[in-house]
């Protein structure tokens, strides 16, 4: 969106109303942020559509929480522009303070006001509402999060999951345009985390709110979001639906950050790619154009893509075995010198030093990278 959208505001809005899926509620445009000498975010751009749940996924220190704070107005960007519903809220010298943005935030440790009850916490953002409406809204939200009975409890009387839900209700109460969630589940123990993920997704969808969440947990990102943006060192490496990002990573970082990844080098031939596992037919490879014939590439293989069978004439040796309960993860050292991982359920048992042959078990097509390249160049 740029100038002409502003000019044709009404028309654009009208057009967007008919196709609500493409209406951008939040746009981050070329934003940078530095703390002292350290650049935390570099030329980051992102747009979030109405009603979607988008997750910023990345390791600690990648700048995802800072991105959230920039959107909330708790930090000022050093460059670029942030727009909410088409209005510039940061950038070009203008800055709208947090209270004027209509952005809700669920903080990492929930930041519930310890001196107020659950009900009062939820009502906190509704000070301009009529008393009756406020009461009704609080009741409605506590019902939505299933905590009507805890209305008069103080935060320290609530369990972790309950605090989380109060925090969610509090941030949803003033009907924010965008809800931001900062590592919302990191304070919960594992079982509760899985349940709350489902619960929060249900609540967000029921409330119909646009949400941006931040996490370093790939499973959480995959299961909760409509789209995932993988962030690394202050920039977005890839953005897309969870399956798409997982199956077709556009960079080695994304491939390795989302689950276990091994790379298998091969040479592109006329009908297929020849690798240490033998020839892999072209149609099993994702978008390999004919022009690549003769060049060296690396195939991304995940542990569940491969199957190892004991075979004295096989091309690999079991180098290690990690028992994980239902499954076991094997590292196989190939005669070519490469190492790949493969996963088997607990029925199969291979021992260190066993010679095995490997075959491709994946039903989907495989992603690849030009040899030595960090990212997929335009295919």
């Amino acid at each position: 969106m740029s100038d002409n959208t502003m000019v044709n505001d009404t028309r654009a809005r009208a057009a967007q109303k008919s196709t609500p899926a493409t209406e951008s509620v939040l746009e981050i445009d070329d934003v940078s942020k530095r703390f002292g000498d350290e650049t935390v975010i570099e030329n980051l751009s992102l747009s979030v559509e109405d009603g979607e749940i988008l997750t910023l996924l990345g390791p600690s220190g990648c700048g995802k929480t800072t991105t959230l704070r920039l959107v909330a107005g708790l930090e000022r960007p050093d460059g670029g522009e942030i727009r909410l519903d088409g209005d510039v809220v940061s950038g070009n010298g203008s800055f709208r303070s947090p209270e004027e943005r209509g952005v809700g935030v669920v903080f990492q440790e929930f930041a519930l006001f310890p001196h107020l009850t659950a009900g009062e916490n939820v009502a906190f953002g509704l000070k301009e509402w009529d008393d009756d409406e406020r009461e009704a809204r609080v009741t409605e939200l506590l019902e939505l999060v299933g905590l009507s009975a805890q209305r008069d409890s103080y935060p320290d009387e609530l369990s972790g999951g309950q605090q989380q839900r109060v925090a969610l209700a509090r941030s949803l109460a003033p009907e924010p345009d965008v809800l931001l969630l900062d590592e919302p589940f990191s304070n919960l123990d594992v079982d509760l985390r899985v349940r709350m993920r489902e619960e929060v997704r249900r609540i967000l969808k029921e409330a119909g709110v646009t949400a941006v969440s931040v996490t370093h947990d790939q499973e959480e990102a995959m299961s909760m979001s409509d789209r995932v943006a993988v962030v690394n060192a202050g920039r977005i490496e890839q953005i897309g639906r969870p399956e798409q990002v997982f199956q077709h990573p556009e960079s080695r970082f994304v491939a390795s950050f989302l689950g276990h990844a091994s790379f298998l080098s091969g040479t592109v031939g006329h009908d297929g790619v020849s690798t240490a596992l033998g020839e892999i037919p072209r149609e099993r490879i994702h978008g390999l154009a004919p022009e690549y014939e003769g060049s060296a590439i690396e195939l991304l293989v995940r542990p569940d893509d491969l199957e190892a069978t004991p075979n004295p004439d096989g091309s690999g040796v079991v180098a290690s075995r990690r028992y994980l309960g239902p499954t076991a993860l094997y590292e196989i050292e190939l005669d070519s010198g490469e190492t790949v991982s493969c996963m088997h359920n607990h029925d199969v048992r291979l021992d260190r030093g066993d010679r095995v042959s490997l075959s491709l078990a994946a039903a989907h097509d495989l992603s690849w990278f030009p040899e030595g390249a960090e990212t997929v160049v335009d295919r």
């Binding site: 600690s60 303070s97 953002g125 000070k127």
Partner: protein
């Protein structure tokens, strides 16, 4: 007397979670916690609105700092007026050197004795199967409640040649007991009323120490004593040092005990010289006293910097005392007995004897003394709260040089003994502020200078305990910066503010030296009554005011205990 305790190492400060994303790279005006408080670097970027100190608050804080520094600046000026050569001559006078040697001896003796009493008591009440541990924990902490001048007063009258103790022992043929005056007496009394500083800090360290460390040492073929020396001692050393420095500071600045014990330490000589119109000399001695105090303070802040983050404590089995049980009980009993029973018995005797035979002496007590004391103390608490607010806010939220300097400046009350503040304000009043000299305004101002650190410390800790995310959350829920402050920060710091005010109120009630210097003629408080009873020899008159002061003191202890969560278990 308890002023330093409010700032003791046992306090807990809210530290925003540390495991948070490193992506919150510490910004230039990163706030949240002060480096001297916590060894962990805290990474929580402060919300925008507060990233630069608002001008108004900064100005207010700077004004407060300038005001409380005034007496000290004036004192320096005065010393310059004396002239360099004369100052040198005065400083090298044998009497000066003797005063210095006396004070040094007293500080060393009291500190050493406090460690010898405090550390074993802490170990006994925390780590052994001493019978009635909870009772002893309270009993050996309680001497902190008794102002040392009341203790000294009681000891002098109890132990003199014809004192209460001698009368008690007379049937046994004891004709006369040695006087307690001098270094020995001052050391005894000060140790009895200051060792709790060492006891309390050491106890906290012992309690929070992970006892599995000791168990590990035992499994590595160490005897209990070796394990104590090689594992426990290094762990509690910073706490013992912190407590000892509080003792040293208190001893150096205490006025009442040396005065009553007629021991020529700095404070007594300053007071005597002042009354003998040796004002130049008094001013010079005051400066020297301040210099020595600053030295101790510098040492203290260094020790504090090393303050450990103790591991989670775990109560495992206790050391069995076995045949040492009786000697241990004897130590606890005799310390608590001397420190608590002697003054209470003496005051009680006066009270009842006063009520029956020398009725007129006791009846000389007037309710107006109480009202006067309460009035000035309440005024002081109110002014201190107003002064403390901007300073504590800036100190808790900003880490720049200006913020640190402002806060440190308001700590003159720590660094400058009451005698010196009193003296400086008398000079200032007589030469420049004649209209308020000999008025309550100047007296209240002196109290504020002395006790402002208590209010600032308490309030600042409260500000720090407020998670910076809370005002941010309020902002995202539609509150302006000041709205967020009013609806979230203020209610959360209110208990700290009131706690600080209560502390100032109670310590003001029992303040001695500044009161003696600055109370307007004819203005009698509980403290001046006790003092005149002592100096005129009408001991009976001291009973009622002293007992009231003890009650006040006990209350202030309760305030601290409730604030610090000092648990007795």
């Amino acid at each position: 007397m308890i002023r330093q305790l409010a700032d003791s190492p046992t306090r807990r400060i809210y530290t925003p979670n540390i495991q948070m994303d490193a992506e919150h790279a510490p910004g230039p005006d990163d706030t949240a916690s002060d480096a001297t408080e916590s060894t962990q670097s805290v990474d929580s970027a402060e919300s925008l609105a507060e990233s630069t100190p608002r001008l108004g608050v900064s100005l207010a804080a700077a004004t407060v700092a300038a005001l409380v520094l005034l007496p000290l600046i004036w004192l320096v000026r005065l010393a310059f007026d004396v002239g360099l050569s004369e100052a040198l001559a005065l400083s090298l006078r044998p009497q000066t050197l003797e005063v210095f040697a006396n004070s040094a001896a007293l500080v060393v003796a009291v500190t050493a004795a406090s460690i010898l009493v405090g550390v074993p008591l802490a170990y006994l009440t925390v780590r052994t199967d001493l019978p009635f541990r909870r009772f002893w924990t309270v009993a050996v902490s309680l001497p902190l409640v008794i102002p040392s001048y009341i203790g000294a007063f009681a000891f002098v009258t109890a132990f003199g040649p014809q004192g209460a103790l001698q009368r008690l022992l007379e049937p046994l043929g004891v004709q006369s007991l040695p006087r307690l005056y001098g270094l020995g007496g001052a050391t005894l009394v000060l140790t009895l009323y200051t060792y709790p500083y060492v006891y309390i800090t050491t106890r906290a360290a012992l309690k929070s120490m992970d006892t599995t460390l000791v168990e590990a040492a035992r499994t590595l073929r160490h005897t209990r004593w070796e394990a104590f020396r090689r594992v426990t001692l290094p762990q509690i050393r910073p706490a013992v040092a912190a407590g000892s420095l509080l003792v040293a500071l208190y001893t150096l600045s205490d006025f009442g005990t040396p005065a009553i014990m007629r021991f020529d330490a700095f404070t007594r000589v300053i007071f005597v010289e002042f009354n003998a119109f040796g004002r130049d000399f008094a001013a010079l001695l005051s400066l020297q006293l301040v210099a020595v105090t600053l030295l101790i303070l510098a040492a203290e802040s260094r020790i504090r910097g090393d303050e450990q983050v103790y591991g989670g404590g775990r109560a495992t089995d206790r050391v069995r005392l076995g045949r040492w049980k009786l000697p241990a009980l004897g130590l606890c009993g005799s310390v608590a007995g001397l420190a608590l029973v002697v003054p209470l018995a003496v005051l009680g005797t006066w009270f009842f004897r006063g009520a029956s035979d020398v009725g007129s002496e006791t009846l000389a007590f007037d309710i107006s003394y109480v009202l006067n004391s309460v009035g000035v103390a309440a005024a002081t608490a109110a002014v201190a709260a107003v002064f403390a607010f901007p300073v504590a806010y800036i100190a808790a939220h900003h880490r720049g040089k200006v913020a640190t300097l402002t806060e440190r400046a308001t700590y003159v009350g720590y660094a400058v003994p009451g005698v010196v503040i009193g003296l400086a304000l008398v000079y200032l009043g007589t030469s420049y502020a004649q209209p308020i000299y000999q008025t309550l305004y100047l007296l209240v101002f002196a109290y504020v200078v002395r006790f402002l650190p208590q209010a600032v410390g308490s309030l600042r800790a409260s500000f720090l305990r407020v998670d910076p995310k809370l005002p941010e959350a309020a902002r995202t829920l539609g509150r302006t910066p000041s709205g967020a402050f009013r609806s979230v920060t203020l209610p959360l710091v209110a208990p700290g503010l009131f706690g600080g005010m209560a502390l100032v109120f109670l310590t003001t009630m029992k303040e001695l030296p500044a009161t003696l210097f600055l109370a307007p003629t004819g203005f009698e408080t509980l403290v001046t009554r006790v003092w005149s009873a002592y100096s005129q020899g009408y001991f009976g008159r001291a009973a009622v005011p002293a007992l009231i002061l003890l009650a006040v003191s006990g209350l202030s202890m309760l305030v601290i205990v409730s604030q610090e969560g000092y648990d007795v278990k």
